[in-house]
């Protein structure tokens, strides 16, 4: 066995994507679709697919696979598939339509995404994403998604953080909601057609792997507590990201990593767990009772100007009384060509530095101003209201302040995770038959995601990519029937039952939430916007201690055969604890700064992120080797044939 590195992990053999065809990048997807085996329409209903999660990726995949005639079983933990957290995305969805004739193209969207991801994503996957983006808009418009339109009746576009073209389609500040409802309605249409069997209020608690293939899942019915076995020819996880590790994040209360983490424990490698995104424009924390953070779409940065008082003594003053010359519009000053539209990681860190320097505003001094006074003077209140009305209302609802009259206060918050289960070009994980779509995989955003690209990836995977790649796998099916008595099934069910029994019988002293909150504080402190060797080492120790205490000391009341949200959370937090440790190990081992991962030891003289392409131009795919054993690192080398690797500059 190879040595343990830094006392934390081992290095295994390199890993490679074997599915993307070589050759010209603009022909790869077409070639792969042609080479992927077909399934005769008459045989499709004999093939079954489990889809876990019904957000943009999962909902779109269910609808499309159902339309194709496969036998789909869908699962979500919410009471309806329409509630998945894709619904909360506000700003928009990118597509290379070039409707504005401003120089956009598939290649430019590809280029911007690779660059925005700080050269840590696989070229062929990103190109495909850009390539299918235009079809997504066509599909959504045909479904009745009410995108914003101009008076001509044609679709409107806007520009979004980190890019210089207008390629973002939007539906006021509720784009995610409208896209999800489109996918949900398409899914419900298949439910009525009988191709999709929907199981809401069901949580996946274990993956079933038989003879090396993913063949099913174990779920808990969240109303009756019944533990159920569901078997199929393939399993798709579209269960979203793991930002809820931090307790305070912009994710929904129920967002969790249990499905992906259970799959990881069964052999699926986890890619780049340390790549998390901190969103610059969220409503600041108001007190200890805070249960989650609310994002304000960064489209606000198109018209709002970010500033802090030059003099820390002014931070308590009414911002409207601070004259122009005493304000520091620090993004416009430091990054003159991108100004307030610099990528998310840069905007977030800049806000942190201003607050660290004592210029932060609002409770606790953790906030900066986002000011619309100039925009209202220039365009009039009505136009600003049309563009951002619902965001302004939401801000006022939460803070009690009216942003039409006084500047908003914003602060960064954890928002999205670029890391996720490692997948090949076919979106298949290292477990054959286990596919991963949307935020749950690691595939397209590298070390940092550009604004309005999450919706694009979710729908690209769900509508266009997965349905085309999964058929290559299903063509070899149906696979031999798995009896309920199969050892893999029995073992998975027992593992689920044991965990539930443990939580209900521990009778400790602390609630699940109190542990979760503490875990979040450790991560925000040491694995948040800025990370250091010493801090991460400390975080690993603290997480281990917290995890040990959790298993002995958690208090979950009530029983299994009832709605029991403490019990649901208990399983999720147990998995968060293990994933949090891996995240810190990944952050420790990556001794470079790139995208959302900022290592204080690796920065340029003027404080910008400094990549180390010699040592780290790879995706880290982690293999599970036991709850207390060092994980094994498999490196996937990233080769850039079409985009030259450059140090990012937004100045």
């Amino acid at each position: 066995m190879v040595d343990v590195i830094d006392g934390l992990y081992r290095e295994g053999t390199p890993i490679k994507d074997t599915k993307a065809p070589g050759g010209p990048i603009d022909k790869r997807w077409e070639t792969r679709k042609f080479e992927a085996k077909l399934v005769n329409p008459a045989n499709r209903r004999k093939l079954s697919v489990i889809v876990v999660g019904t957000g943009l990726a999962g909902g779109a995949a269910c609808a499309t696979l159902g339309e194709a005639g496969y036998n789909v079983k869908a699962f979500c933990y919410q009471d309806s598939p329409r509630r998945a957290h894709s619904i909360a995305a506000q700003g928009g969805i990118n597509a290379a339509k070039n409707y504005k004739e401003d120089g956009d193209s598939v290649f430019r969207l590809f280029y911007d995404t690779v660059k925005g991801g700080d050269y840590r994503a696989r070229e062929s996957n990103v190109y495909r994403l850009a390539e299918v983006s235009a079809s997504i808009i066509d599909q959504c418009v045909a479904q009745g998604v009410p995108f914003a339109r101009e008076y001509s009746g044609l679709l409107d576009n806007r520009s979004f953080g980190g890019v210089q073209v207008s390629r973002t389609f939007y539906a006021r500040g509720q784009t995610g909601q409208q896209l999800l409802i489109g996918a949900y309605q398409a899914l419900q249409r298949q439910v009525a057609a009988g191709t999709v069997q929907m199981n809401s209020r069901h949580e996946m608690l274990e993956l079933i792997v038989v003879d090396g293939r993913a063949r099913g899942i174990v779920t808990r019915d969240m109303v009756t507590g019944e533990i159920e076995t569901h078997l199929a020819d393939a399993v798709v996880l579209a269960t979203g990201g793991y930002a809820n590790l931090f307790f305070l994040s912009t994710n929904a209360m129920g967002c969790n990593a249990t499905a992906t983490w259970r799959a990881h424990r069964k052999g699926a490698y986890f890619g780049n767990p340390c790549f998390t995104q901190i969103h610059p424009t969220c409503i600041p924390v108001s007190g200890d009772h805070q249960s989650k953070l609310t994002l304000m779409s960064e489209s606000l940065r198109n018209d709002g100007r970010i500033w802090v008082p030059k003099d820390p003594a002014d931070r308590e003053k009414d911002p409207r009384t601070i004259p122009e010359q005493d304000r520091d519009y620090y993004l416009e000053r430091i990054y003159p060509s991108f100004g307030n539209l610099v990528p998310r990681d840069i905007a977030s860190r800049a806000a942190k530095y201003q607050c660290d320097a004592g210029k932060g505003v609002g409770p606790g001094g953790r906030g900066v101003y986002l000011d619309f006074a100039d925009a209202i003077a220039r365009f009039g209140r009505k136009t600003v209201e049309e563009r951002y009305g619902n965001l302004f209302d939401m801000y006022q609802q939460i803070t009690g302040d009216n942003p039409y009259e006084t500047p908003m206060r914003i602060y960064p918050a954890v928002h999205y995770t670029m890391g996720g289960l490692w997948v090949d070009y076919d979106l298949q994980s290292t477990i054959p038959g286990l596919f991963v779509a949307g935020e749950a995989n690691f595939s397209d955003h590298g070390a940092n995601r550009l604004g309005a690209s999450a919706l694009m990836q979710g729908l690209a995977d769900g509508y266009f990519v997965l349905p085309n790649t999964i058929r290559d796998y299903l063509a070899a099916g149906p696979f031999p029937e798995v009896p309920d008595s199969a050892p893999a099934v029995v073992e998975a069910r027992e593992a689920v039952q044991q965990r539930i029994d443990h939580f209900l019988s521990t009778k400790g002293t602390r609630s699940v939430d109190s542990f979760h909150r503490e875990l979040g504080q450790i991560l925000w402190e040491y694995c948040g916007m800025e990370r250091t060797e010493a801090g991460l080492t400390k975080a690993v120790e603290q997480i281990r201690a917290l995890r040990a205490d959790y298993w002995k000391n958690v208090r979950v009341l009530g029983g299994n055969e009832q709605v029991n949200q403490s019990l649901e959370k208990a399983g999720r937090v147990a998995d968060f604890m293990e994933l949090a440790e891996l995240m810190c190990i990944d952050a420790l081992h990556r001794r470079e700064s790139c995208g959302g991962h900022f290592r204080a030891e690796s920065q340029t003289e003027d404080g910008e992120a400094l990549r180390d392409d010699e040592a780290f131009a790879y995706a880290a795919a982690w293999e599970f080797s036991g709850p207390d054993a060092p994980p094994v690192l498999h490196k996937e080398e990233l080769v850039y044939e079409f985009v030259e690797m450059k140090q990012r500059s937004y100045k």
């Binding site: 499309t64 339309e67 919410q78 009471d79 309806s80 598939p81 329409r82 509630r83 998945a84 957290h85 619904i87 909360a88 339509k97 599909q139 959504c140 418009v141 045909a142 479904q143 009745g144 009410p146 339109r149 101009e150 009746g153 044609l154 679709l155 539906a171 509720q174 909601q177 409208q178 409802i181 309605q185 398409a186 419900q188 249409r189 439910v191 009525a192 929907m198 109303v223 929904a252 209360m253 129920g254 108001s286 007190g287 009772h289 805070q290 249960s291 994002l295 939401m394 609802q397 939460i398 266009f464 349905p467 609630s511 208090r555 009341l557 009832q562 709605v563 029991n564 949200q565 403490s566």
Partner: protein, 247 residues
Amino acid sequence: MKINLKIWRQAGPNATGKLVTYRLDDVSPDMSFLEMLDVLNEQLIAKGEEPVEFDSDCREGICGMCGLVINGEPHGPRVTTTCQLHMRSFKDCDTITIEPLRADPFPVLRDLVVDRSPLDRIIAAGGFISVSTGAAPEAHATPVPKKNADRAFDTAACIGCGACVAACPNAAAMLFIGAKVTHLGELPQGQPERAARIVKMLNQHDAEGFGGCTNVGACADACPKSIPFDVISQLNKDLRTSLVRGL
């Protein structure tokens, strides 16, 4: 702030429920309503009592998962979702009664959690445009006048929370259906299935046990997304057209 709470507790779908009184002594006006309940639950767990079960997910007012009847009003005194209601809307020493969304088609599962799956089945019956993936024409092929696109958006903003049903004395889901038929009916893409859509959705509505609309208007008052009451006029108009065509 000090707050007195009377909360509906019910052990399961077939159990008898009752209002139970609790008291919180240290409520911040900046807390959201659900954060106030989180605080209560932490205190209950510390005392060894089972926490109050209630649904919530995004806590940003968009997913539609939350929905409590607060002092008799779905989502409480303001035009917003329960999760976006803040304690600054209440006064020190207020007594607040919290019940689940009440309607026969929404059975209580436990405490404040109800089953709203009938709404999903109404959508499945016809609340969509039938376009399979890949079959779509180029997005700019059909311009949509801004006026129609805006009206489609306003009505598509429905979050499916069910407050309209709970507010209605007849437990009708007409605002919910009206919003959907108006959203899809405003768009050229929604025309081919328009006449059949309304009939299918209404048949499912009746089969689920929702009541009829008697133009009370409580639904639109309770709607956290301000879906306008006139979508029900649109619904009736579309229905007349369908009936004339013998659908």
